[in-house]
């Protein structure tokens, strides 16, 4: 069940500069394992060592923030678009 995954510039080092790649999985967590099998290392920038989503990366299934869809348990269906955008954040301290 392929889904389209939109890759931000900073992660294209893993995808041979591809902006969009295909992946599969029933959940977001599965999808990241599938991507990491073909683009080794990419999952480490998306998932913490403890197994949660990286704090300053926003991930969306279609137009929804996966934090409100169950995080890595978020269900994925054929034809979905998953978008990865680094958070735009910072602070003076």
């Amino acid at each position: 069940m392929p889904v389209q995954v939109r890759i931000p510039t900073i992660l294209r080092r893993y995808t041979d500069e591809a902006r969009v790649v295909e992946g599969k999985g029933e959940t977001l967590g599965d999808l990241f394992l599938d991507l990491d099998a073909r683009f080794p290392g990419i999952r480490g920038d998306l998932v913490s060592e403890a197994g949660g989503l990286a704090r300053f990366v926003n991930i969306y299934v279609n137009d929804e923030d996966v934090r409100f869809l169950g995080g890595l348990e978020a269900p994925i269906a054929e034809g979905d678009t998953v978008t990865i955008l680094p958070a735009v954040a910072g602070g003076s301290r």
């Binding site: 300053f56 978008t83 955008l85 954040a89 910072g90 602070g91």
Partner: protein, 136 residues
């Protein structure tokens, strides 16, 4: 080097002043090497020491840029009591090596600090800013 027009510069500074004492943040989009628009974003943190673009607003704006054939030129934010230089937090989080990171300090009422940087692999490089009166 970052080259922008006076109107883009003025809009960024005005936004930083308007949101003071909270930090302001936004983007500048570009097409064919020229700024097309300044997008003032919501600082979801509403804080004098932290900023974070609202994630859904961010997705909408990035999709709009894609649809319009625009690229990201500038990510700007303000520091309201410190210098216009990326903080340790800014550097750690910076996720757009393709962007010019503009810092504006609003710590003085009568003086603007407006500086631009590249932040790539946690390495900060300041670059000159050229403001042109208008594009041809």
């Amino acid at each position: 080097m970052l080259t922008i027009d006076q109107s883009t510069y003025d809009q960024i500074v005005a936004h930083a002043r308007r949101d003071h004492p909270d930090e302001a943040c936004g983007l500048v989009a570009t097409r064919d090497g020229r700024p097309t628009r300044v997008v003032a974003m919501t600082n979801a943190a509403r804080s004098p020491t932290f900023y974070e673009m609202d994630p859904l607003e961010q997705l909408r704006v990035f999709n709009d840029m894609d649809d319009a054939g625009e690229d990201l030129l500038v990510i700007y934010h303000s520091h309201t009591s410190t210098e216009a230089y990326p903080s340790r937090t800014d550097i750690t989080i910076a996720g757009y090596p393709e962007a010019h990171y503009v810092l504006v300090s609003t710590r003085y009422d009568d003086e603007v600090e407006f500086r631009s940087f590249r932040i790539v692999d946690s390495e900060v490089t300041e670059e000159p800013v050229t403001v042109v009166s208008a594009w041809e």
